[in-house]
Assembly symmetry: C2
DNA sequence: TGTTAGCACTCGCTTGCATTGAGTGCTAAC
DNA sequence: GTTAGCACTCAATGCAAGCGAGTGCTAACA
């Protein structure tokens, strides 16, 4: 059987309607709204075909039809209606830009901003940083046996962590050490830096030995550069969707959202462009009834972090794709202008 | 009418039972569990008295009794049963300490740790820092027209923010400026520092002028020191309590949790010790059915930050008070050992 | 005087049943 | 190929009956 133009039109109307209403859509209402000028009976015949082909599902025999994941897939791939108007989009762009001005606020507020603007749960994956080049390294005493390690990279990104130092070195000594180390490591990638630090620790290099906590330092760099971080915003937006009126489903969702590792895997597994994953395609059981829209953003030339929103499969895809595309562009631009 | 010993005993049994079961407790079950060896009829008489006195509430005439906020208040004040055993408590202490080792992790993970261990929603209020004394100030170039400002205080706490600097100063120049400023401001409180910076900006002091962004700097210091920050952890723990099986209640709760200002007010309004606020006492309408346990923690000698948990009024107070007391002690100790 | 057994009564909850109505599939006519 | 008509299905709604946990009251008892 073939999916002809009229079937497509009807399918699109069903998805559009269902996205708004969240109730199975019947043939009668459809005959009025889809604009084909055919009667409900005709629609019924077409719907029967679409059901047989797996695009529609009937909750029960006397209910309307609900789009299947397969229908959403087709819809996203080739049936997207008009997206957001330009004026609406630029409003959102302004709202977004007032909240995300640099890498720092991206990490702390980006997820919140995206979730506020989309009303979905938002994820921000920080860029994998092991390929960034080191520009300089600084040590700042913070009292006791701890110092703040600041690594400035290529794209202005800072990795700062507090590390232990063996003895009470004063600010001047730490500054000198920082300068010294900077000279040695300038231009290395963070990955190389980490390896070099482990090398220093092993060979007891005279200069490096000054820092008692050199191994600690290397370990910190490793931890910071290897493990991506993912920030979640607006997880409880999910409570506004009737699909999650049942608290146990909301709980399952929240638990999945808490599992940073699988979220990272989810965001890392994207292809280079913006992508939509529907239902099972997410690969996470708790998101079987959800869709995930992922978009990359870039820092400097190397790739790449990712942003994502998660919501019920019933999602206004056209709008959300516009939004995510815009966020991605704005972020990439904002973060590379910094350099 | 008098609240004699037996009434107290019965009230305590009712609260204990209700905390576990979340169902109105009847006279029959009570006569078996409260250990007084009296019949249900006697209990009924006592319960009638307690109801009249406002300690108990009947959802409807043929249901058991439910403790009123007044009952919880009495319970917390003078009826607390045995708290946690020492071995159980020290287990929790270990779990907590492996997750919160310093100020930094306190801010980023403290709320998560507390909520995980208590299964309630946890709040961490960062200490008001305007009274901390400045030990040193450092500037680290991070590319472009931005520098990282690190202020090291009295208690090893770091406030770091990125500020704009007018021209491209290299690391050496920034270091010198940092040293210079450190000499001038050492020993000031953060509040004094802020005022001094505004002073510099106004008088065009020769040394300070080097920093084009001095006003920016002052503003940042003000922002960082004046506005308390509150971190929330485990907000969705609330979904595990049947009191919030209705999603609209969960939503209301989440919205209240998102209102940082009122949370800060809530945590700031505590007295010096550990405190329990029940229902209306919280002063936040959305928490009318909740209790909040607040505990202060100290950094150095000045006070103080606060931690809190929020959950349904039906809360195992004895355990939670033990826990919060322990968290508070551990934090205070961990953070002052740092010095 | 305090305690207890007994009993009628209340009322939320569950179960079962009939009704409703939106929506379907099928058939026959256009 | 399209449409009108019709019988059928089934979730949802409303209603009544029965159940049972729990109460208040009264009378008897220690």
């Amino acid at each position: 059987m073939d999916v002809d133009a009229r079937k497509l039109r009807i399918l699109q109307a069903i998805v559009d309607d269902y996205i708004l209403s969240n109730t199975p859509v019947g043939s009668r209402t459809l005959s009025k709204t889809c604009g084909l000028g055919v009667s409900s009976a005709t629609i019924r015949n077409e719907m029967a075909d679409l059901t047989e082909m797996g695009y529609l599902v009937q909750p029960h025999v006397s209910a309307g039809r609900v789009p299947s994941p397969k229908a959403y897939r087709l819809y996203v791939t080739s049936l997207l209606p008009q997206g957001m108007g330009e004026e609406e989009l630029s409003g959102a762009r302004r709202a977004f830009n007032t909240r995300v001005r640099d890498m720092e606020t991206l990490i702390s507020q980006g997820a919140a901003a995206i979730s506020d603007l989309t009303h979905y749960t938002a994820l921000v994956l920080t860029p994998r940083q092991s390929d960034l080049k080191v520009r300089s390294l600084h040590l700042v005493p913070v009292g006791g046996d701890r110092a703040l390690l600041v690594i400035v990279t290529d794209s202005g990104v800072i990795r700062d962590t507090s590390i232990r130092i063996s003895s009470r070195l004063d600010a001047g000594a730490l500054y000198t050490i920082g300068q010294m180390l900077t000279q040695r490591i300038q231009g290395m990638t963070l990955r190389q830096l980490r390896e070099a630090l482990y090398g220093y620790a092993a060979t007891q290099d005279a200069d490096a030995r000054v820092l008692g906590g050199i191994a600690d330092l290397a370990a910190q760099v490793e931890k910071q550069t290897e493990s991506d971080r993912v920030m979640v915003g607006g997880a409880h937006n999910i409570l506004y969707y009737p699909e999650y009126a049942d608290v146990s489903r909301a709980r399952a969702f929240m638990n999945a959202i808490d599992d940073a590792d699988s979220l990272i895997a989810l965001l890392r597994s994207q292809d280079s462009g913006i992508s939509v994953r529907i239902g099972q395609e997410t690969g996470i059981p708790a998101f079987a009834d959800c869709s995930v829209i992922t978009a990359p953003y870039r820092i400097g030339r190397g790739h790449t972090g990712a942003i994502a929103i998660i919501g019920p499969t019933r999602m206004p895809y056209a709008r959300m794709l516009d939004m995510m595309r815009m966020f991605s562009q704005e972020l990439t631009q904002t973060l590379s202008v910094k350099e």
